[in-house]
């Protein structure tokens, strides 16, 4: 199996806060890894290190065939890594000055020099795939939250990434819109996309994840198949966390 992400002894601080502590983690091709943990535990920071939105300080990180050096090191691989890694944000971060279709066409045209005709066709196909083919010419603000997040997924897919990062993709959504976004993610997982997902959707984690990772205060304290982690957590921190989130 090909390893898409390989973290070894990764550390990171925010000022005095030691936010990632000796993280060792590998993600295989086609694997769906769901990362859970309390807010402030470092789970978002962890996946933001993968595409260099956060810099780590020590250890090593490999993404696909590229090594990404820690802070202060040679970051020349970052451009290549970002071409191969798509990201979906909690707040969607769509470009409000561009139409939905233009949001999706921008990166392929700028980064890969894809022609407008091809980029346009790709955008239409992807919008169809996430179920909003009829919204192509609207502006993001005219769409519901769930639709916007689906556009954001399509936008990331347009770069044909080998890995998709999801940073709490449903946390900013009204409850009735969470399902439509999770459906798209579920499809993506089924098609074999390698995914790292930070989420509070435990149902999704149990159903879709190949592996669940629980992070507590910057450390991976539990890791395993979803059923094992959810039904039979070994670490008392995990037990406490799960009893709190699964109680309601």
């Amino acid at each position: 199996m090909t390893q898409i992400v390989k973290m070894k002894g990764m550390n990171k601080h925010f000022g005095k806060l030691h936010v990632l502590k000796d993280i060792d983690l590998t993600v295989e091709q086609g694997e769906v890894v769901v990362i859970i943990g309390a807010s402030g535990s470092g789970k978002s920071t962890l996946i933001r290190c993968v595409n260099g939105l956060e810099e780590y300080e020590s250890g090593s990180l490999n993404v696909d065939s590229h090594a990404l050096a820690p802070k202060g090191g040679n970051q020349s691989t970052l451009a290549e890594i970002r071409k191969e890694v798509g990201m979906v944000f909690q707040q969607f971060n769509l470009f409000p000055h561009l139409t939905v279709k233009r949001n999706i066409m921008l990166a392929p045209m700028k980064v890969k020099n894809t022609s407008q005709v091809v980029a346009n066709a790709t955008a239409e196909r992807l919008l169809e795939r996430v179920g909003i083919g009829d919204q192509a010419d609207k502006y993001p603000s005219q769409l519901s939250g769930g639709q916007q997040q689906r556009v954001a997924i399509a936008r990331a897919l347009a770069m044909e990434p080998r890995l998709m990062l999801f940073d709490e993709p449903t946390s900013a959504l009204d409850p009735e819109m969470i399902g439509e976004v999770l459906d798209v993610m579920r499809e993506l997982a089924k098609e074999g996309m390698t995914m790292m997902v930070v989420t509070h959707e435990m149902g999704f984690a149990r159903e879709v994840a190949d592996r669940v990772i629980y992070i507590h205060e910057g450390q991976i304290v539990e890791e395993g198949r979803p059923d094992d982690v959810f039904d039979n957590p070994q670490n008392e921190r995990t037990q406490a966390f799960l009893s709190r989130v699964l109680a309601h």
Partner: protein, 223 residues
């Protein structure tokens, strides 16, 4: 002695052709200066938010100096002071344009800085995560959004600069106020002439406000 003042409409109307000769100068100085000031403002505004201190520092110095000194002193310095330094005279029109450019440039730098900083960090993160370079992210994602937010304060600065050109009568550019002064020296109809001069400024600034409002409305519609 009885004092009676009557507004002399005829004198006001008669002054119009002579005063109107000042309008092209007023417009040339203000819009010429603002055009250069806009370029300076983008340049220094972006430098002022650069992470590197040696780029940020000169920009901050420029902004503070030209915001912190009166434009009248600036134009006097350029027109009377600089020739000593460069060893030759500067014509008043050039001095006026330079003063507006440097002065408005400092204020526009702050407008640019504010506009760019007002754009959510998530926008550049989204651009970078898609593989765009920092430069591409800035010019195709951040700048278009920031510019739209900059239109109202830029319009404000344009109106301020147009009015600032009235000070340049002191260096003898034949702009509106200067034309008025010369005309009054012959006719002694100060009240009427300055009234017309004021109306002419108002006509210019009101037209600009109107254009800006239309621009803003177009901009808002697509965001």
């Amino acid at each position: 002695m009885e004092f009676q003042f009557q507004f002399d409409w005829q004198a006001a109307i008669n002054s119009i052709p002579y005063l109107a000769k000042g309008i092209p100068y007023t417009l040339m100085i203000s819009f010429g200066g603002l055009a250069i000031g806009f370029v300076l403002g983008i340049f220094f505004g972006l430098l002022s938010i650069n992470k590197k201190w040696f780029l940020r520092w000169p920009a901050t110095a420029y902004i503070e100096i030209f915001r912190g000194t009166p434009i009248l002193v600036q134009v006097l310095f350029i027109f009377y002071g600089l020739p000593d330094l460069i060893g030759g005279p500067i014509d008043p029109l050039t001095a006026g344009i330079a003063a507006i450019a440097l002065n408005s440039g400092a204020y526009i730098s702050e407008v640019v800085r504010g506009g760019v900083q007002s754009i959510d960090k998530g926008q550049s993160e989204a651009g970078l995560s898609l593989g765009l370079s920092r430069t591409q992210t800035f010019w195709s994602i951040i700048w278009p959004q920031a510019f739209r937010r900059m239109i109202p304060p830029l319009g404000n600065q344009a109106i301020v600069s147009i009015k600032d050109t009235s000070l340049f009568s002191v260096i003898g550019v034949g702009e509106l106020v200067r034309q008025g002064q010369v005309y009054i020296a012959n006719t002694f109809t100060a009240f009427e002439v300055y009234f017309v001069v004021a109306l002419m400024y108002l006509a210019i600034t009101l037209s600009l406000s109107l254009v800006l409002r239309l621009l803003e409305r177009r901009g808002v519609a697509s965001v």
